[in-house]
Symmetry: C2
Subunit: 397 residues, 2 copies
């Protein structure tokens, strides 16, 4: 923290993020098979009537309703119309034709008598109940007319929407392209998982943490790079990132110590480096480089993960049509101390319907503790002490 500077609150920093994370949305056309969960870029109108043609709702007999006004009616069966390609011959007055569900109702017929309401004797259908015109007939366009809106813009495509598009013969759909994110983790101490670390090295947990959180929030990761604290290396990674992505997220290198590559490179480029009133995750930086927002989180893995969850994931989820993380009031099963002047996000686990227990300590290196949690306990800045039985706000992970 710089002495004398205002220390932004979590809400102020979240508002800043929202103002930065505004993207010109590109669109792309994808096959239905690739469209699940995507968002329609514009309204889709049906090119056809649905149903495409007048068809039978039942297995039965297509008739003229006027021919069975007086019952019992006996109509000679003149043929059969399966649900197959082909246009059946018109139905002559005084006759019936066997018809299958979904088959074309022939010209001349205006009702269908279900097979279970018909007796067949020597090629004659004996019908005991009159039917009104249109009964068990699905009219062309009775679901939707050609030119009508089939789906509005901004529809998150579920199976039922894809089915409706397919039913109208539409094989591809214009959808919003996902926000493209580049991730750069920084630090000379970082080793890739799966490789034996040297003394003083730690495995890079932030790359997979940010990459997978971004994907879970519906955006796509176009670059994931790991760099040391060398300025030129970071500058090169940053240039590639701003070139390819709508948003760049970095971790590490923004505190007030030495060897803080992100701060040292970005600050001369106009970045705002600050410490917000949040624990963990105090150090934060934001910049716009070559028109692309660059969001920088601290290197401690818990700080980075909570920062992503608080500031980036909510915006990306909204842009991807995903629901917001659930907030819920829960009752503490233990006493909790907090830090005055900082909004603290403790790791916790739900207990029953509305209870919560604290998992691990507040320190920002406890990645296993975070993994064992299923929510964050959100303690306001001014709160210093909470008692067992107190109600706290929680945020589902």
């Amino acid at each position: 923290m710089r002495i004398g500077q205002h220390r932004p609150s979590v809400d102020e920093h979240a508002a800043l993020m929202r103002s930065l994370l505004v993207f010109e949305r590109r669109t792309e056309t994808v096959a239905l098979d690739e469209a699940l969960g995507r968002i329609t870029a514009r309204a889709v109108t049906s090119p056809v009537d649905l149903p495409l043609f007048r068809n039978s709702q039942m297995d039965g007999f297509a008739v003229r309703a006027s021919d069975i006004a007086a019952v019992p009616a006996k109509l000679p069966i003149v043929g059969e119309i399966p649900a197959r390609p082909g246009q059946p011959a018109p139905l002559a007055p005084g006759t019936a034709v066997r018809i299958m569900t979904g088959a074309v109702v022939p010209d001349g017929a205006d009702a269908v008598v279900p097979v279970e309401d018909t007796t067949v004797v020597d090629g004659v259908a004996v019908i005991e109940t009159p039917r009104v015109v249109g009964e068990y007939v699905r009219d062309r366009g009775s679901d939707l007319r050609a030119g009508d809106e089939l789906l509005p813009a901004a529809t998150v495509l579920r199976s039922r929407h894809l089915a409706a598009l397919a039913a109208a013969g539409i094989a591809s759909v214009e959808v919003l392209a996902p926000v493209r994110v580049a991730v750069i983790t920084t630090g000379a101490e970082l080793a890739a998982p799966g490789v034996d670390p040297q003394p003083g090295q730690v495995y890079d947990a932030n790359a997979i943490a940010i990459v997978s959180a971004v994907r879970a929030a519906g955006a796509s990761v176009v670059i994931s790079a790991r760099v040391t604290d060398d300025h030129d290396t970071f500058r090169a990674a940053l240039a590639a990132a701003t070139d390819a992505a709508d948003l760049v997220i970095t971790s590490g290198g923004i505190s007030m110590g030495d060897y803080e590559v992100v701060r040292e490179v970005l600050e001369p480029l106009g970045a705002t480096v600050t410490t917000i009133a949040m624990q963990p995750g105090g150090p934060q930086a934001t910049a716009v480089i070559d028109g692309v927002p660059v969001i920088s989180f601290p290197g401690n893995p818990v700080s980075t993960q909570i920062s992503v969850e608080m500031f980036v994931a909510p915006v990306l989820r909204e842009l991807a049509g995903l629901p917001a993380a659930r907030r819920q009031s829960r009752v503490l099963d233990t006493d909790v101390r907090s830090v005055p002047g900082k909004r603290q996000l403790l790791r916790g686990r739900a207990v029953g319907e509305d209870g919560v227990t604290v998992v691990g300590g507040p320190s920002s290196h406890l990645v296993a503790g975070l993994a064992a949690s299923d929510l964050l306990i959100d303690i306001p800045e001014a709160t210093v002490q909470l008692r067992k039985g107190d109600t706290v706000e929680t945020l589902a992970l």
Copy 2:
């Protein structure tokens, strides 16, 4: 419906489905980058202590706590330890060493004094506050010990779990393989979307409906085939499906009419073909062919989609660690008539917090109406009439 046969209720049919949809789960090992949303096949223990080594929680000075018991203490600064690979030299008594967050705390040092609590004068750190042993030092293994459980079996892998695996140096994880589903849509009348249909043909909406509903429920689709009502063609598709999949889903061809290829082929193989007390979606069939469950839904697209939602998706979602569809009581904004003796699933749309309106009619061909809905209104078998203001059970789509 066959006269004299019991007509199963929705709950009975759902119970039958649950008894059929039991799969031997295969496992596979995937890289962390591919593991988001997957389910751990077994518990994962950490191969290392976390943290890997004793390191500093702050930018500051590593000292012996006993050297600053009497303040102000003045300790010559003997060097600097960045967060970089390498093992620092032990700290001599009566000295301090500059240290960065995450850097190795040298042997001999047992506390870190934050830089903001220190004044540096001519290469000497002036410290005004005593520190207890261990202050601002993260001990090796303080998050987790080697051999401790990092993640339990059956963990649905979120970003925080992947981060914990990465932090422990684990680069891949054994997860449950998704249930493999084959989809066969049947009907001589079906045309592929994007192709001009002949008279009497309809576009196949069921293929994409089932395929995408299965994927949304966390299973994988290994085959999607469209066949006519020719027996041999269907038999060949079925053989390929049971060979490749854990579950086969068919649509069409199971009613009591003629040209019902699924019923005609499966019934001699021991299939149960029935009509359940549900509208839409009455005709249903189940079989086990070559040890593989085969679930057959009617061809009407709305019937098929509602059948998938009622009988298959809940089981697949549970197997994939996805949450169940939300059920909620809502207040009708209109009168509704229902069919006696059938559980009716009307298409509806949420109105405000707890209201619901009916979308379209009850007929099973209204695919656009289903697409415009966001929930199903679940009306019990015995209910015939509901009034505006009545409370109904709804199932989110």
